[in-house]
Symmetry: C2
Subunit: 216 residues, 2 copies
């Protein structure tokens, strides 16, 4: 197995930045893109529930409409790929049952054998801290997937720009999500930085380590 | 620069799983751990505000107390490192000013030059969708950092287990966060899987790609 050294990991993380200007002519190779889609499939989530859907917007006209709902930012149309990240508006016992059935199929076990585990998750939906805001809980999980997309891209030398400044209600309309169980959270442009993006060379703005990490 | 191939990335993501049983005797080399702490420092966040603090729990007795507040899960004490992820309970204009001053220092610009940008962020805190729940907004960002920690570890061959099933209020007490601006969100155990962890070989349970990714 191939792993990164600490130096290589930090080189990758320092190379990554939120691209302001993508090169509209540079395309992501098919195998690289397939791996990024798979990285979204493989993202971890609480209980493994995967409370999300990822919409890859291929249609150029739709991208223009989304751009208008994104403070007119050029990344929406210039990046080779544009992924809208959505989460379940709520999670129900049916979602738990679907997941448990899927797990049993994957592991070759009987659904009855996971009854206790199923009830723990179902109880979590109504009794835990997350019960007050299941959409918020799902959103947190989806941000792990957003992170995994950005990290996987950086590991392969592909650029990204996370986009939180979008009109989510308008996105829902344009993407046909109104009245569905999923709602837009944010998006991520994926492609390659333009040689003209002056932000590529800007020093990273991060608080010093001793201001964000404490030992106990 | 060294990048991963698509096959190598997927090998890493498939290798990762939520470790149930860590090897308590296996320690993370100092340079690898330093890179993981740095990966937290480098995590991206909305506007770059970094609304978080990461607590690395070194004290064995404190780990035992946290374990009792974590459904007694052994990962809390067996993993070489245990990181508690916290977020700002709210974000204020002072936080924005601190960030802007830090950015100006990093980029060598005058604070006055970023007045417009500063006001955009300050306005976002009171007028945007996030204004209704700034803690929830900060939590989403912190989950990006959680993802970056898990991804960086996997890239270097280090195991993790994200821990959402923790008694956050009790964690806040034990970690001295009560009455501070930061609140516990979740935790992440970091170390190496035990050879006895039967979950290491279990097939991943993920919905098929066409159920989580759609094209538009």
């Amino acid at each position: 197995m191939t792993t990164l050294t600490p130096e290589q990991l930090l080189e990758r993380l320092n190379w990554r930045y939120a691209v302001k200007k993508f090169d509209p002519d540079k395309k992501i190779p098919a195998d690289v893109w397939a791996a990024l889609e798979q990285s979204l499939v493989l993202a971890p989530s609480s209980f493994g529930l995967q409370p999300w859907k990822f919409l890859v917007v291929d249609d150029a006209a739709l991208r223009e409409q989304l751009r208008a709902a994104s403070w007119n930012q050029s990344q929406v149309v210039d990046a080779d790929r544009y992924v809208v990240i959505t989460a379940l508006r709520t999670t129900t016992e049916d979602d738990v049952d679907r997941y448990i059935e899927h797990q049993c199929a994957a592991h070759g076990t009987e659904v009855s054998a996971l009854k206790g585990y199923r009830d723990v998750i179902a109880g979590f939906l109504v009794k835990s801290w997350a019960a007050k805001d299941l959409f918020g809980w799902n959103a947190r999980q989806a941000y792990i997937a957003l992170g995994q997309l950005m990290n996987g891209a950086a590991a392969m030398g592909v650029d990204t720009c996370p986009m939180e400044g979008v009109d989510m209600a308008r996105y829902d309309e344009l993407l046909g999500l109104k009245g569905t169980r999923y709602a837009t959270l944010c998006a991520c442009a994926v492609g390659y930085r333009s040689a003209e993006d002056k932000y590529a060379g800007a020093p990273k703005v991060r608080y010093p380590l001793d201001q964000v990490i404490e030992h106990r």
